[in-house]
């Protein structure tokens, strides 16, 4: 039997103050990101704020500073540029300050055709999104997320206890906020695909938390004499090897996707990678200790057994 961890007996709950401190900082960061997003100050993708993105693939090397210069000279100075090194790819993004009626994508293409006549290129992709659509997308995504949170709290509360539902939802929220905060700090663009990644990691984190909670419930029924802190600690230790093995396999999937999955999948996989790490951490150090914040809770589960 190959084992990464043998039988462990780590006092996770005892470290909850440190965990809360660290998580508190991450959550604050995430909340700051949310505030910035709602103020429109964060790097929101054009799928949410509207605008134009054109990706060009050149035959020869294209220097980003030259590209910027010629765009400025042609009145497209507010463009954001991003290059994908080895392949001579250039991504040009313009937020919706300029309206779609002006055919921004066509203008960009025309500028490059004119200024770099010898360096041929093909248009890999071009996206133009009106601001109204972005607004609708934002609202839809928010509603979907809120509804799923309420649904999860209700389900977990029904299957376990109310405090479990709250703790699971908070832990999941914590993970999403932490990754969002990290993306905000690194000034990465928050696109629809990144939001999908956040939803995916919410799913992961929830699964992780429920697995630990399940064990806690089982132990609460069996060993009624131990203190709740001991019971929770034991449960976390018992499922620890499962937690590690699962996270490890998922990380195994995500590392190649992040490194070699191509530019479209890169940010998506990166968000998931961080999400899995935070999710694993939070199910041990956040969700379970949160249960202890309601120590006098009557404990429907305890009574039942």
């Amino acid at each position: 039997m190959l084992e990464i961890l043998g039988k462990t007996n780590i006092d996770f709950m005892g470290k909850r103050r440190w965990a809360f401190l660290f998580s508190g900082i991450m959550v604050m960061l995430g909340l700051a990101a949310v505030v910035q997003i709602s103020r429109g100050a964060a790097n929101l993708g054009i799928d949410f704020v509207g605008g134009t993105a054109v990706q060009l693939k050149f035959e020869q090397v294209i220097r980003i500073d030259e590209a910027r210069k010629i765009l400025e000279a042609n009145g497209l100075g507010n463009a954001e540029l991003q290059e994908f090194g080895q392949e001579n790819k250039l991504l040009i993004r313009l937020k919706a300050s300029t309206t779609i009626e002006e055919k921004v994508a066509e203008r960009v293409v025309a500028v490059f055709t004119k200024e770099f006549p010898s360096n041929h290129f093909v248009v890999d992709s071009s996206t133009e999104i009106g601001p109204t659509i972005g607004k609708k997308l934002q609202e839809d995504a928010l509603i979907a997320i809120l509804i799923s949170f309420v649904g999860i709290i209700l389900y977990v509360a029904g299957r376990f206890e109310f405090r479990f539902g709250i703790a699971a939802a908070l832990a999941t929220f914590h993970d999403v906020l932490a990754v969002l905060g990290a993306f905000y700090l690194l000034e990465k663009e928050i696109t629809l695909l990144v939001v999908t990644a956040l939803l995916t990691l919410a799913g992961y984190s929830m699964t992780d938390t429920v697995v630990v909670f399940d064990r806690i419930r089982e132990n609460l029924r069996m060993r009624r004499r131990d203190s709740e802190e001991t019971i929770i600690n034991n449960a976390v230790n018992q499922v620890l090897s499962r937690t590690i093995v699962t996270s490890l396999t998922v990380v195994l999937v995500l590392i190649p996707l992040t490194l070699a999955g191509g530019e479209v999948l890169h940010d998506f996989s990166l968000a998931l990678l961080w999400g899995v790490i935070f999710g694993t951490y939070s199910s041990i150090f956040v969700a379970s200790p949160l249960l202890l914040l309601w120590p006098k809770a009557s404990g429907r589960l305890l009574k039942r057994s």
Binding site: M1, L192, A197, V211, R242
Partner: protein, 547 residues
Amino acid sequence: MKKVGGRLIVLTLVVVLSVIFFIPSYQPFYQALPAWLKAVMPNKGITLGLDLQGGIHLVMEVDEDRAVEIAVDRSVVSLQDLLVDKKIPVESVTRTGPTQVTMQFQNAELKAQIQKMIEDYPAFLETESAGSANMLVWELRELEIKRIKDSAINQALETIRNRIDQFGVAEPMVQRQGLKQIVVQLPGVKEPKRAKDLIKETALLEFKLLDEDNQVKLDLPARIPKEKEAEVLRQAEAKLPVGDQILFERAVDKDTGREYRIPYLVKKRVMLTGDVLSDARVSIGQFNDPYVSITFDAKGGREFDRITGDNVRKRMAVVLDNTIYSAPMIQERITGGRAQITGTFSMQEASDLAIVLRAGALPAPLKIIQDLTVGPSLGKDSIDKGVQATLFAGALVVLFMMVYYRTSGVIADFALALNLLCLMGALSALNATLTLPGIAGIVLTIGMGVDSNVLIFERIREELRGGKAVRLAVDGGYAKALLTIVDSHVTTLITGVALFLFGTGPIKGFAVTLCLGIGINLFTALVGTKVIFDLMNQRHKVEQLSI
């Protein structure tokens, strides 16, 4: 331990069904099948989304207000004609607001006469003419405005469908979305710009007479560079005769290849529009220059006959979307119901023009509010890279499970393969469209599949450590892991359903694969692998479980 037989049959059935449904998604294999087999099999599988195969996704809005204005403009023109026919001397009939027509006349005695004419225009209501004896104001009825707006979108939908059909795209989708939006999806289009132009062009064809007498007085320049259009319009504005407008012809200098414009003074009154066309085709002229020959329907032919007869030796402009294509002299009465549109265009432009003329004009301009164009090369790039990385990642997981859990790991790998197969089968059966977020959903599902197996195996290990016999340990492990697996799947399913119900576009695609995946996962983890363990235990008594 229960009997294995029944579950084994179910498992086999599911696998066979999945394979049958998946086959059409893999075209090379599907095409190689004999015809009789194809006839009894499902014929449609998974479609790749635009992000994966390239193509165009457009969301457009019909400019409804403009459609109403255009309708009012038409009434103004026909009202003018009617007044001329009835020999009622009116000073002016103009559209004075989006839905308002104002008539002014010198002779106050005419008022009653004109007022009665509203009977011919039931769409309008007379409003208070501000006490003026020399003025009448008509307003379009609310109900009529609503009707025009509603028919505008339906007409636009119909027209776009026609145009795309004639352009030739493999599997186009043209749909109404909400009240006033139109969604067009053209997968795999090679010339995105051309396709977009074809869809967006209003293609309003009009025949208008030149005002040659006044053109001389106005002293318009013979040709101007294309940037100077606005300047010419500004200069002439004050001197413009009532009922006239300036339109430009687009032309190319044969020597320098530079584009220039020729300004013309044109009477605003529309003699004939493109809706009386019955056909439009590309023909090749004497000098190998393409032109479009049009055929009028019976009514249009009669009208054209009358108009050309009344205006011999005068010049008539062929106007498309407010640009003059040509302004030939009418040499004689044209009776055949045919005409030609010449101009400086390439073969392709001529054939696109013929398409839009055949398909008819849009009732109003379209506003593109979302435009996603993915070149075929990027689509291929992202598939190739994504698939390679996924395969590599998959291999790592398979290997890891085998090393860590030995024989049991192989069983888990089998479950993963089963999982993927069923998911593909289910997606094919639903004719789902696979997009990048959809693939993300699959990745999440696979992750959960691994997790279910890990949960079960860790439980079995605990039971074995507790000293239980293999058979009991396996049963116990499954039984104890069951609740956990169900709980974790249901919570994720709640997320999935919420996203499916309230999410849009790409998020919905994610939700579909996620929800399907969760259901299939439960099946493969709780039935699929258990059957194999049970089979192993049934054949010979297993003393040591490789786990």
